[in-house]
Structure formats: C-alpha cells, structure tokens
C-alpha cells in the first residue's frame, strides 16, 4: 500500500516556504534523469543540494520569530531554531567539496575522452580487453 500521496502533497503545499525546495529538488531530479551531459547532471546535483538546504532551514523556521542573533535589542527566546542553520552551513561546505570534486573529475574525463556528452562517451575498455575470456559460451562442449 502506498502512503497517501495526496495527503503528503497537501501537507507540503500548505506551507508556502516548502514550495521552493520542492521545486528545486524536482528540477534536480529531472535533470539527473534526463540530461545527457555530465556537467548538467552535476549542476542538477547542486540544485538538489540547494533545495534540501533550504528545506532544512525552513524546518527550523518558526512563524514570526527573529533571527537568532544576540544583541541588546533582541528579545531573548523569540528566535527561530539556530541549529538547522548551523547544520546547513556544514552541509553547504560538504556540498561545495562534492561539487568541486565532481568538476575536477569532469575535467579529467574531458581530457581523456574529449567530450562530456554521454552519447559520445563510449566507456573505454581497451585496458580490460586482454583480461577477458573468449571461449565462454554456455555450451556443454561436444
């Protein structure tokens, strides 16, 4: 049995600040599935990342509360939850690392194959060919 999808969606759509993350993640997923260019796939991954980060911040947001900054003028305990924001900072750093590494890999791939289009990339097997066995048929051998 599936979860009640419509209920989930209704719940999500009832909160306006979930719209953006939902949109970003959907675009990202669509991009990863449909794009034939590796760089566009990486960008899609970045979109999903950003979407999720915004989602996390919105989870910690409490309607009508202030930014969690202590100062003489801010009233104590009328803050939004600061921890998700701290977590997102870390997540952003990690995301940058992953995206940077991905870009590096793409440069390597481009150096080697001269293209980033999946259709033009034939996964090179030349260095494996000699390790394959040839007479591997399912026959019983007469």
């Amino acid at each position: 049995m599936l979860y009640d999808l419509s209920e989930m969606f209704r719940e999500a759509l009832s909160v306006p600040y979930y719209y953006l993350p939902l949109f970003l993640v959907s675009v990202g997923i669509y991009g990863i599935v449909s794009q034939r260019n590796l760089f566009k796939q990486l960008v899609s991954l970045g979109l999903i990342d950003t979407g999720v980060n915004i989602l996390i911040i919105s989870l910690g947001y409490i309607q009508g509360m202030e930014a969690p900054i202590y100062s003489a003028v801010t009233p104590i305990a009328k803050f939004v939850d600061p921890l998700p924001q701290a977590l997102v900072l870390t997540a952003i750093v990690i995301g940058v690392g992953v995206l940077g590494l991905g870009a590096t890999l793409l440069i390597k791939i481009h150096e080697r194959y001269g293209t980033l289009e999946l259709d033009e990339l034939k996964f090179s097997k030349e260095h494996q060919r000699w390790q394959e066995i040839m007479d591997d048929e399912g026959d019983v051998g007469v």
Binding site: M1, L2, V140, G141
Partner: protein
C-alpha cells in the same frame, strides 16, 4: 577410521612435497595409504562409532565398509598404474596431492552418518577431483565447471534437506533422524527425501542429471577417468543406498505397483530412462572414453533400479552391481589409458588391431566388457541376473524390457571399441606400438583376476551385502557357497564356470588345430582398381553404427536444454549489466528510491 582419514589428509601434503623431488613418489604414497587403509579397515568391525578430531561423528556401517573397501581396490589399481603413467602429466605434484585428497574425502563420506560431516567430505571430494579434471586437456575446462555445478545442485539440495531436518529434530545424525522421520507431515517427508536423493542422483549420473559425465569422463586425465567412473560415481550410489535403506521408505510412502512404493517406483523409472539414454548415446560415440561414460549412465540406472527395489534379491543385486561396475569401469578405463599412453588418441576410428601389439591391455578390456555386458562367468552377470530375478518375481515387465534392451545395447556399444581399437587391422602408423610397461600391466592383470574370481566365488562380496541388508532390516539374500538362491530357482556360479571353461578349452583346441588365416596389412585390400590416398577412410570403425544412429539421429538433447537454460540465465545477467550503464542506472536508482520511500508494505 580417524587414523585412516588423518593419514590420508596428511598424506596428501606429503604426496605433494615428495612429488616435487620425484614425481613417482606420489602414486607410491597413494598406494601405500590405500593398502594401509584397506588393512586397517578390514579389521574394524562394522557398527563402530569413533571420534574425529574430538567430535563424535564417525560411524561405520557395513554398507560404508563395503563401499570403502571397494574404493580402496579401485584407488590401489589407479595408484599402481599411475607410477609410470604420471610421466605424461605436466603438473604431477598437484595431481598426486589432489588424488590422495580425493581418497580422503571419499573415505570420509563412507565413514559417517552425520549429515554435515558427510556433506563436508562430499564437497572435499568434489573439489579435490574438480581440479584434476582439466589437468591433461584444456578442453576439459568447461566440463569441469559443469561437473561441479551439477554436483552442487545435488549437494545444495542435500544441504537444504539437512538443515530442514535439523530445524525439526535438532540433530544431524542420520540414524536418529530416520527413527523420527515419520512424525513429519507428508509433504515435508517428500521434500526432504527427494532433496537428499538429488545429491546421489547428480553424483551417480542418473537421468536427468547425467549430462556432466560425457565430457568429464571423456576429457579428464586418462587414469582419473577410472576413478571417476569406478569410484566417484559410486559415491552417489552409496548415498542412494544409504538413504533408501536407513529411512523407512516402505512405510513412509504408499505402495504403488508390484509391491513397490511410489518413491521407489519413480526412482525405478529414472533408472529406466538412464539405461535407455545411456545405451543409445553410448552407441553413438566415436570417442572410446565418452562411450564408456555413457555406459556408466546406463549402469548407474541398473544400480538405481536394484537399490530402489529394496528387497531381498534386487537390493543385493544393486549393491553387487556397484562392485562389478566399479571394477569393470576401472579395468576398461585403465586399458584405455594404456592405449592412449602408447598411441595418443581416444578416437576409435583412428585405431585398430592393437590386439597384436598390446595383448594384456586387450584381455583387460575384453574381461572388463564381458563383465559390463553381463556375460557369465564374470561377476557382472550375477548382479544383472539378480536384478532381473527381482523384477520378474514382481511382474514389472516394462522395467524388464528396459533392462533387457540395456543389456542388448551394451553388447553393441562395448563391441565398438573392441572391434575398432583392438581387433581388425593394425594401422601402419601404429606398427611400432609396444605393450605398456610391466607396472601398468600389474593392476590390469590383478583386476582381471578379481573379476573372474568373484564371478566364480562371489561369497565374500555377498557376505558384505547380506550384512548391509541385515543392518537395515531387509531380508538377507540367500546363498550357499557358490549357489545363489532366489525365489525362482538358483544359480551355481561354479557349475557355470566349469561349463564355460570347458567350452573355452574346446574352442581353444579347435583354434589350434584348424589352419590359421592369413594376415594382411590394411593397404592390401580390394579397391576396385582405385588408388587409395587415405587408407583411414576405409577403416570399418568409422561410422560404425551408422545404421542404428540413423534411427534416432534427431533425438531431443538434455545437454542442449541445460545449455540454453544457462544462456537464458546469462541473458538475464546481461540485462542486469545493461542497467549498470549510465543512462539506465539513473532511472533505476530513482525508481528504487520511490519504491522504498513510498511503498508501505505488503
């Protein structure tokens, strides 16, 4: 028993190391171990329990002792033969070590009634022998994979049943399990017994799991084929015999026909089909080793029928046939090994007339096939006669027809190598061929003597068989000296032997006093004035049974069925491999995520 097993296991390491210095030491060690084990085992009374490495798992039944002694005879002959034959191998040390390990494993199988220990030794045997199979011909590689896979189908089914029984009774001891087996529900009993028998069926090469025999026997190192056919296949028969007799099969399964229960009836039909398939396929073979491989299928069918009858005469006949076929197959494969040792080929139509050059080999083969075809006075006749008696007394006429056709067919196929390899004209290519060295002749001569001796005086073998029958509560087979008694009469092997001996003498005298025929070379024949460029084409052994093969040339092949099954599995694997590709994997990944996230459960 513990000592024997330990000696054999340590011996395999010793065999490896000593063979590094001198390759002939390996077979000698195998021989010594076999003789030692034989002497030790002879003294151990049956129904002895022993510890193995501190575990109380070894238990010697009379049945196990019978099979173990038989195996040791086969291994001794194999060892002696190998002392010279080992020269032809590129990897003698591994061959020696694995041969000894095979012996250790197979003895372990016969020494225990603990299912897990039996499984362990079973697999030890399979894997030790597995790596011997491709040692002389590289074409045997695929054959070895088939060997291990089909054997594993059986042994995993066995393991499944073992654990199923364990989850019910919390013991692995077969004797204890058999006492309580009837408490289980009927479907479970069917499942358990059939799964366990699958192991025996796969190993003994009974239809429908016989497809591995042709290539494994045919392409294995020549002497090892003798062990494969003479000994390892018998391990399967042992398991069938043990399971059928230790489980109260007759009470567990309802009676069906001719006083035979339904399980036995099914097994008998498997035996029938094996006889038919083995015989028909053997007739077709031009490779002499593959020919005898199919004959092994047919004979495993005989053994299965005998064992499945589970009565006074038939069960004894089945067990006796185990002995006869083991010895006969060993003789035949050793004589083939001798032929290959000298000529280098196993193709029947490339040989001929070797009787003039290799008389001892010829006699070994001749006695071997006489026993195999079941012609008196050899022991092979007795066992077939016993199985036949039992079938007749039950009125199972369809099975009788199969058994009878199998016997006739066996005359046909054993004659093909006889005529093609040994009789006829000697090819000029082989005119310098000599008899094999004396050490190779010794085991062949010994086996000839064994066959003839037990054909005339089967008492010792029958004593074991009767012991095994008594042990499992089957009516014991009746015999007095050389007189074998059944409900329909008796057969006195001594009288028959004397009759045959007299007949043989008369024939010999006639042969000596009549004028000799003229020997002509192959080239000297009638050719209608044609000049012959290739005399081989005129060899009568090529397309020997063409007139018979025509009749069933387009038969459906189980080998092809299995091969296409494997190919179907591989195509499925290819599908999985396609999913790995970048395009597909993204879709599959997200499908997986959606499935796991949203599917709440069934």
């Amino acid at each position: 028993m513990q000592n024997i097993l330990l000696v054999a296991i340590i011996g395999s390491v010793a065999g490896y190391l000593l063979s590094l210095f001198y390759r002939r030491l390996g077979p000698i060690i195998l021989l010594l171990i076999s003789l030692y084990a034989f002497a030790m085992l002879w003294e151990i009374p049956s129904n002895t329990a022993e510890n193995f490495l501190g575990y109380d798992v070894l238990y010697l039944t009379t049945l196990g002792k019978y099979f173990a002694l038989l195996s040791l005879i086969v291994f001794s002959a194999y060892a002696i033969f190998n002392i010279v034959w080992i020269e032809t191998l590129k990897t003698p040390h591994a061959f020696n070590a694995l041969s000894i390990l095979t012996l250790a494993g197979t003895l372990g199988v016969f020494f225990t009634t603990n299912l897990v220990v039996l499984y362990i030794f079973w697999e030890l045997t399979v894997f030790a022998s597995l790596f011997i199979v491709p040692m002389s011909k590289s074409e045997a590689k695929r054959a070895a994979v088939w060997y291990v896979t089909i054997t594993a189908i059986g042994s995993f089914a066995f393991l499944f049943a073992t654990f199923l029984l364990y989850s019910k009774f919390y013991t692995f001891d077969l004797v204890e399990i058999s006492r309580n087996l009837s408490q289980l529900p009927k479907p479970t009993i069917w499942l358990v017994v059939c799964s366990m028998l699958t192991a025996g069926i796969a190993k003994s090469g009974v239809f429908p799991l016989h497809v591995w025999l042709r290539n494994v026997h045919g392409k294995a190192p020549d002497t090892f084929s003798a062990v494969l056919s003479g000994q390892l296949v018998k391990m399967g028969s042992y398991l069938i015999a043990l399971l059928l007799s230790i489980f109260p099969v007759t009470t567990l399964f309802p009676h069906f026909y001719g006083g035979v229960n339904i399980l036995s009836y099914i097994l008998i039909w498997l035996g029938n089909v094996s006889i038919l398939v083995g015989t028909l396929m053997a007739i077709k073979q031009n490779d002499m080793k593959m020919l005898i491989a199919f004959s092994t299928v047919a004979n495993s069918g005989y053994i299965l029928i005998g064992l499945a009858l589970l009565d006074q005469v038939g069960f004894a006949g089945g067990l006796f046939h185990v002995f006869n076929h083991a010895i006969a197959a060993t003789m035949i494969f050793l004589s083939f090994a001798a032929v290959v040792y000298r000529t280098g080929t196993t193709k029947i139509d490339e040989l001929g007339g070797l009787i003039h050059r290799m008389p001892v080999t010829f006699i070994t083969y001749l006695v071997g096939i006489i026993s195999l075809a079941g012609i008196p006075p050899t022991s092979g006749f007795i066992s077939k006669w016993m199985i036949f008696q039992s079938l007749v007394s039950r009125g199972m006429f369809v099975t009788e027809i199969f058994v009878f056709v199998g016997s006739i067919g066996s005359f046909l196929y054993v004659f093909r190598p006889l005529a093609g390899v040994f009789l006829g004209q000697l090819k000029s290519k082989y005119k310098d061929v000599r008899e094999v060295p004396i050490i190779m002749q010794i085991p062949m001569i010994l086996l000839v003597l064994v066959t003839v001796f037990f054909g005339v005086f089967p008492g010792q073998v029958l004593e074991f068989i009767v012991g095994a029958q008594k042990e499992f509560g089957i009516d014991a087979f009746q015999y007095e000296g050389t007189k074998l008694i059944t409900s329909m009469g008796y057969w006195d092997t001594w009288i028959v032997f004397v009759m045959f001996a007299v007949g043989f003498l008369i024939a010999a005298v006639l042969y000596l006093i009549t004028p000799k025929g003229k020997k002509i070379p192959l080239e000297d024949q009638y050719t209608s004035g044609e000049f012959l460029h290739n005399f081989d084409l005129y060899h009568y052994a090529s397309r020997f049974y063409a007139f018979l093969e025509r009749e069933y040339g387009d038969h459906p092949s189980l080998e092809n069925l299995y091969a296409s099954l494997v190919n179907a599995l591989k195509s499925l694997g290819k599908g999985i491999d396609y999913l790995v590709s970048r395009t597909a994997s993204a879709y599959v990944f997200w499908l997986g995520v959606i499935l796991l996230l949203l599917w709440k459960g069934w």
